[in-house]
């Protein structure tokens, strides 16, 4: 125990003397939270619409006004020529084209049926389907209005009334959803990245050899190396939670104690992973790449951005060993829904098993003697 204390003292000295460390601990979390929270959104708030109006009638103008009045649409250009619309789409000036054919109004009056065309830039598939939905609802709305005005008919009420409620996030605020997940990334980066790098650095500089000739035990060295980053990770979480609460006004419905307890377990996995990577690499460059690689895969598959249940079977299986996926679930459940420990038992045991396995692997791979 005394020996571990000496190692701890040395590690903290080195960490806080490193001028790059303090910005990483304080600055990076804020930037990450701010940038990620605002940038990572699939919401479409603005659609640039190009209008090709070949009808030029009061009806077509009414329809265009409906689009103009929508909070989602900005009209970026008008023309009569089809090519102008295509051009605008290719130029990225417009996201969507509304084409109103020359006989729009006439057909509406004589045949009681008319047609329109909506063309959407679909490179971003999910955005495109949203934009389509927007256009659809405006046109439907317009359709109902026309019926009402020309025939004086009212749309009959639906035989089944559907009411819906959105719990835990009634305003469907995307930031509320993202922030708990971002906090997980923050803790993970500190845990796996900094700790792994720290050990490889000693290897690269050669000081690890001097430590290896001492009678120090494997576990003493590893515990001494891990504890500082465990504390920094916990601190980081506290700091991040404060920012989330004060800046973003994210609710924390569940127990703070539970959040920190689970973070402690999660950090075990992250630290073990960092340490394991450090044992299989010999330079910081390699360590960074491997860490980066796993981080990207873990993050993308974790459900941070896209729903896990939509992934194919094999991907969901892979997620069984993805610590980030478990902890993101936990954070969202505890923070946003107020889930209790009995709700997250699965995640707790999974993380615990991963943590124990990771650390056993790391200790087994860590060699004092070659």
């Amino acid at each position: 125990m005394r020996i571990i204390l000496f190692i701890l003292q040395k590690e903290f000295l080195q960490i806080f003397r490193n001028r790059a460390m303090l910005p990483i601990i304080f600055f990076v979390p804020i930037v990450q939270l701010l940038v990620l929270a605002y940038a990572a959104t699939f919401e479409i708030k603005n659609v640039n619409l190009f209008v090709i109006d070949q009808d030029y009638s009061p009806s077509s103008r009414d329809l265009i006004l409906k689009f103009k009045g929508s909070q989602f649409y900005t009209i970026v250009g008008y023309s009569e020529a089809f090519t102008a619309g295509d051009q605008a789409l290719i130029n990225n000036e417009a996201d969507q084209i509304l084409q109103i054919p020359a006989d729009f109004e006439k057909k509406l009056e004589t045949e009681k049926a008319s047609s329109l065309q909506v063309t959407t830039n679909a490179i971003n598939g999910s955005a495109a389907s949203l934009m389509n939905a927007y256009a659809l609802s405006i046109i439907m709305d317009y359709n109902t209005n026309v019926i009402l005005e020309t025939l004086g008919l009212r749309h009959p009420p639906d035989p089944i009334s559907i009411s819906s409620a959105f719990w835990y996030n009634p305003e469907l605020d995307y930031i509320t959803f993202m922030v708990p997940g971002i906090l997980v990334l923050l803790v993970f980066i500190i845990g796996s990245f900094l700790s792994g790098m720290n050990v490889v650095r000693e290897k690269e500089i050669g000081t690890i050899e001097q430590v290896n000739v001492t009678p120090i035990k494997k576990y003493q060295f590893i515990i001494g190396k891990l504890i500082p980053f465990w504390f920094i990770g916990m601190f980081e979480l506290a700091f991040g939670l404060a920012v989330a609460r004060l800046v973003f006004d994210i609710p924390i419905l569940g127990s703070l104690g539970l959040i920190f307890f689970m973070a402690g377990v999660f950090l075990l996995v992250a630290l073990g992973m960092g340490l394991f990577i450090s044992t299989i690499t010999s330079t910081q460059q390699q360590a960074m790449f491997i860490t980066w690689f796993f981080m990207v895969v873990f993050i993308l598959m974790s459900g941070l951005f896209t729903p896990v249940q939509s992934m194919p079977e094999w991907a969901q299986w892979l997620n069984k060993i993805n610590p980030i996926a478990y902890f993101i679930e936990v954070m969202r459940m505890v923070m946003l829904k107020g889930s209790t420990f009995s709700d997250i038992l699965t995640q707790f045991f999974s993380l615990l098993i991963l943590g124990v396995l990771m650390n056993i692997l790391a200790i087994w791979r860590y060699r004092k003697v070659v």
Binding site: V31, V35, A40, N92, A122, I139, I160, R201, W292, D343
Partner: protein, 365 residues
């Protein structure tokens, strides 16, 4: 000079682990993105709370569950259970049928259904509710019989450039960009910082090679590696995911080369301002990767970000390169459409080169 480049290649290739990562990474990432990352919704677990338990409520439940979107996780008994199933994270949605569903519908032509969604994931919640509503509507039409609208506007929807709405089309240009950035900027900055740290840089600096040659020697292998990576991804995109290259492939490669040079210049610049590998890594990690992934339009559309971030995005070379790649691959346009983006990247390249040359000289004095 030639020998020097060969030395760099040896450094890189002899290191099996780095090689695996360099060439394995694009493969895995493209596959993960292509197959696993999808914003579509399916197999959502829901719970049903049916107070009526009559033939119509059963029929509607079956109809909802027989769609590919929903799986029944639990039948609830009373409203008190809703909270607990949500908290346990078992279901994303609860559908509630009030009493006498069938009788109300048949006798009074009016029945009520209540949907509660777990909106802690707002995006999914919204889509799930929309799907449910859609299924209920179509059920309604089946039962009541469809009445055609007295006046109808038919809209034809066309999805341009990606008719099947594949997510891969969106992600491939982004992955190419991220990897080029990673391999070029990150690897060079770290490898130069490493030589500085180990003191071997000084040996090179006193050699008859001039600084430009040294730097060129360091970066040429990475140009090559980046290129191989880019081509691997393009081949994968084409053969595995059926993503076309509509425009000129020569133009695409030329633009890639320009971007690689820009990234290398940036990498060199980072290495000149950082004294150790660790600093170089931190700068690369946080100053490069974060914006490359988030502020480039790779995953999240830029137009929806707050003004300040949009402004920041303009400073990201990756934003412009992703536009170029998408335009060439998916829209099939030529240089006349993307000269502006090309010029911006060219400008950035020159900016970084000038900056690093300046820094480099100061260091030599």
């Amino acid at each position: 000079m030639k020998g020097f480049i060969i030395k760099e290649f040896f450094h890189i290739f002899r290191d099996v682990r780095s090689m695996v990562i360099l060439f394995g990474m694009p493969l895995v990432q493209v596959l993960v993105f292509g197959f696993a990352i999808t914003t579509e919704i399916k197999d959502v677990e829901i719970a049903i709370l049916d107070y009526s338990r009559d033939h119509l409520s059963q029929e509607l439940s079956n109809k909802i569950l027989s769609s590919e979107y929903f799986i029944l996780a639990e039948n609830l008994e009373d409203e008190g259970q809703i909270e607990s199933v949500f908290k346990a994270g078992k279901v994303k949605e609860v559908i509630i049928f009030r009493d006498n569903f069938a009788r109300n519908l048949e006798k009074e032509q009016h029945a009520a259904i209540h949907i509660i969604a777990d909106a802690s994931d707002p995006n999914s919640a919204n889509i799930i509710v929309n799907y449910t509503t859609g299924i209920i509507r179509s059920f309604m039409l089946e039962k009541i019989g469809e009445k055609a609208l007295p006046i109808e506007i038919n809209t034809e929807y066309k999805m341009l450039f990606n008719p099947e709405l594949k997510s891969v089309f969106m992600f491939i240009p982004g992955i190419i960009t991220v990897l080029l950035m990673l391999v070029s900027a990150m690897m060079t900055s770290i490898s130069i910082a490493r030589e500085k740290e180990l003191g071997t840089m000084e040996v090179l600096l006193v050699s008859p090679l001039n600084p430009v040659q040294i730097v060129a020697g360091k970066v040429i292998p990475y140009v090559f590696l980046s290129f191989v990576n880019a081509i691997t991804i393009l081949l994968l995109a084409f053969f595995v995911f059926g993503m076309p290259v509509q425009g000129s492939i020569i133009l695409l490669l030329a633009e890639s080369l320009l971007f690689i040079i820009m990234a290398l210049a940036l990498g060199i610049f980072i290495s000149t301002v950082s004294g150790s590998q660790q600093t170089a890594m931190m700068i690369s990690m946080f100053a490069l990767m974060l914006p490359t992934i988030l502020l480039s339009g790779f995953i999240f559309p830029i137009e929806n970000m707050p003004e300040v971030l949009q402004w920041l995005c303009n400073l990201m070379p990756t934003k412009w390169f992703i536009i170029i790649v998408k335009d060439i691959m998916l829209k099939g346009v030529g240089l006349t459409y993307i000269w502006k983006e090309t010029l911006i990247i060219l400008g950035m390249t020159i900016f970084f080169i000038v900056l690093s040359v300046k820094k480099f000289k100061i260091r030599l004095e």
